[in-house]
């Protein structure tokens, strides 16, 4: 996963940066991810999570992947139980404060079976940003003196050459692949995010390869009418997959809220029956359905409609 700057430049130079069609199926897009690489996940917590891609990654039985994500929710449980990963770089890992601490995260980390590499939320953001900027590190005044700092090996302290202030230096984090879900993208990969941008622009620029799922593919002419709204430029992007409701049961800003009934059901299953419960969930929701549409068919229409209406009402109100 280590990149020297010139290697990074060489990889980027080799990339086909033409304004070309990149639309493909979920299956094809996920075959672009080899085993044993670092995959950065866009979105944050249970918002704009690229669930469809994670669903397909699990189905294709990828292994040895290292994942990084700003805050990890239920998708982290699924990736651990499915055996897709044993190493997650993140700042927080659980479904949400009212749902309690993930029993899956506890099981895997407490037993030493998996590594939860903990960085502060902002320092992880600065690591992606440093990578997006093409610099080897960024300085911050955060984390100094804490045990979060002390348990990390990949962090340094320096004295500012101008002011003498102590600073923590966080190293650039270059994912091999970034997987990101957006509301709108054209077939070339120009992506427009509505609502929280989270760290996704930085992740897209930091990664060698970018796979997008989008609620809707729009015409390039529409992008050209509102270029100020484009967050990810086409030349970063390697694949575009149109997946409406691609974050369910998580939320997608202005499109749908989380399916809270489903989340409650999942958390109950996970908290009561741990890995066995989640295995059952994987069997029913990930392995059994033949397509992502089949997966969506397992959700209650009235819950999805309510989640959609709530998001529309909330947006801009």
């Amino acid at each position: 996963m280590e990149h020297s700057y010139l290697e990074l430049r060489a990889k980027t130079a080799k990339k086909d940066k033409g304004l070309k069609e990149k639309v493909m199926s979920l299956t094809e897009a996920v075959t672009l991810i080899p085993d044993n690489v670092h995959v950065a996940i866009g979105g944050c917590h249970y918002s704009r999570t690229p669930i469809a891609l994670i669903w397909e990654i699990i189905r294709q039985k990828k292994s040895g992947l290292v994942f990084s994500k700003s805050i990890t929710a239920t998708e982290g449980d699924l990736l651990l139980v499915a055996g897709t990963t044993r190493h997650i770089i993140t700042s927080w890992f659980s479904p949400g404060v009212t749902w309690g601490v993930s029993r899956i995260m506890r099981h895997f980390v407490q037993s030493g079976e998996a590594t939860y590499e903990e960085w502060s939320h902002m320092s992880l953001g600065l690591r992606y940003r440093a990578a997006a900027m093409g610099v080897p590190f960024l300085p911050t005044r955060s984390m100094l003196g804490s045990d979060v700092y002390k348990q990390l090996t990949d962090i340094k302290e320096m004295q500012c050459p101008f002011t003498g202030d102590k600073l923590a230096l966080v190293p650039a984090l270059h994912p091999d692949v970034a997987i990101i879900h957006v509301q709108k993208a054209d077939s070339y990969g120009n992506a427009q995010i509505t609502g929280f941008p989270f760290m996704d622009k930085d992740i897209a620029l930091a990664a060698d390869r970018v796979i997008l799922t989008t609620e809707q593919i729009i015409d390039n002419n529409e992008i050209r009418r509102t270029p100020d709204r484009t967050d990810i430029p086409f030349f970063c992007v390697d694949a575009v997959v149109e997946v409406p409701y691609g974050c369910v049961p998580h939320e997608c800003y202005a499109a749908y809220e989380p399916d809270f009934n489903h989340m409650d059901m999942y958390v109950k299953l996970m908290m009561e029956r741990s890995t066995e419960g989640v295995q059952e969930y994987l069997d029913k929701y990930v392995y059994a359905p033949q397509t992502f549409d089949d997966y969506l068919s397992l959700f209650k229409v009235k819950d999805i409609v309510r989640a959609t209406l709530n998001a529309r009402k909330g947006y801009g109100s």
Binding site: Y46, H121, M143, S146, M199
Partner: protein
């Protein structure tokens, strides 16, 4: 005199911690009770209080009954003035635009260090907790208020792991580590309001919550707590505060007491 109002310990913590947020200031609020307390403050005494959430939100007005279980979801952005990338909203603290960081605490020690990472040894934890999230950044860069339930296992002499730095080992140690701004202002529990001694930076009891006694506070604290000489008493929740709180959190998702 009005009839005695009924409220639970979580409601008491929520109301009395929210009162510390002054009008015209900017607060960075964590998920759970801090989020609720900041919204309550905005609806009562601090109408122009600006709330920031980790998701990237500046100045929202979250709708009653629609409090989100995360500060990274769209309900947090209702009627917001701006949404920013996460890194940039957190950087506002480093720049100095945030007056208070507002956090919940799983475990807090006598120097105000907060642990939300693990119980027991880091390398072989008895319980792995969710982690820092933005907590470390908030505690490193802002003046922090912590709202929590007062229990011996939660208020300890030394946290198992310093997730979010308070005054580290007391005295000047926070500044010496390089954290030259910010620090922990208050810890608000259902038994008292706790501050920090100017020089030693050790926690001390500044005021009792209504009905609580020094003995009760001592019994529920895991270290020998300093008691301020002119010990105050906190004003009980008012009918108005409770009325608004119940509108905000009708199902008591955030105000069901823990550990009782």
């Amino acid at each position: 005199m009005a009839a005695e109002l009924s409220y639970n310990t979580a409601e008491l913590v929520c109301i009395s911690s929210g009162r510390l947020l002054e009008d015209g200031k900017v607060v960075f609020a964590g998920a759970g009770l801090p989020l609720l307390a900041a919204i309550l403050a905005q609806k009562t005494h601090a109408k122009t209080l600006t709330i920031l959430f980790e998701g990237g939100v500046i100045g929202p007005f979250v709708e009653p009954g629609k409090l989100p279980p995360s500060t990274n979801e769209q309900r947090c952005a209702t009627r917001a003035n701006m949404v920013l990338p996460t890194t940039d909203v957190l950087l506002l603290q480093q720049r100095g635009y945030v007056d208070y960081g507002f956090l919940g605490g799983a475990q807090v020690d006598q120097y105000g260090n907060i642990n939300s990472s693990c119980i027991g040894d880091w390398n072989k934890p008895a319980v792995r907790l969710p982690g820092t999230g933005g907590g470390n950044d908030i505690a490193s860069l802002s003046n922090v208020i912590v709202a929590m339930h007062h229990e011996k296992r939660r208020l300890v002499k030394r946290v198992d792991f310093v997730t979010s730095p308070g005054y580290l080992s007391g005295g000047n140690s926070r500044k010496e580590a390089g954290l030259i701004a910010g620090g922990i202002l208050k810890v608000v529990t259902h038994l008292g309001i706790l501050g920090f001694d100017e020089e030693e930076k050790v926690m001390c009891l500044e005021a009792l919550q209504p009905g609580a006694t020094v003995e009760e506070v001592r019994k529920n604290t895991g270290f020998d707590l300093m008691i301020k000489e002119d010990l105050g008493e906190s004003t009980p929740p008012t009918e108005e505060e409770l009325r608004i709180l119940h509108i905000l959190d009708p199902e008591k998702r955030y105000t069901t007491p823990r550990g009782e």
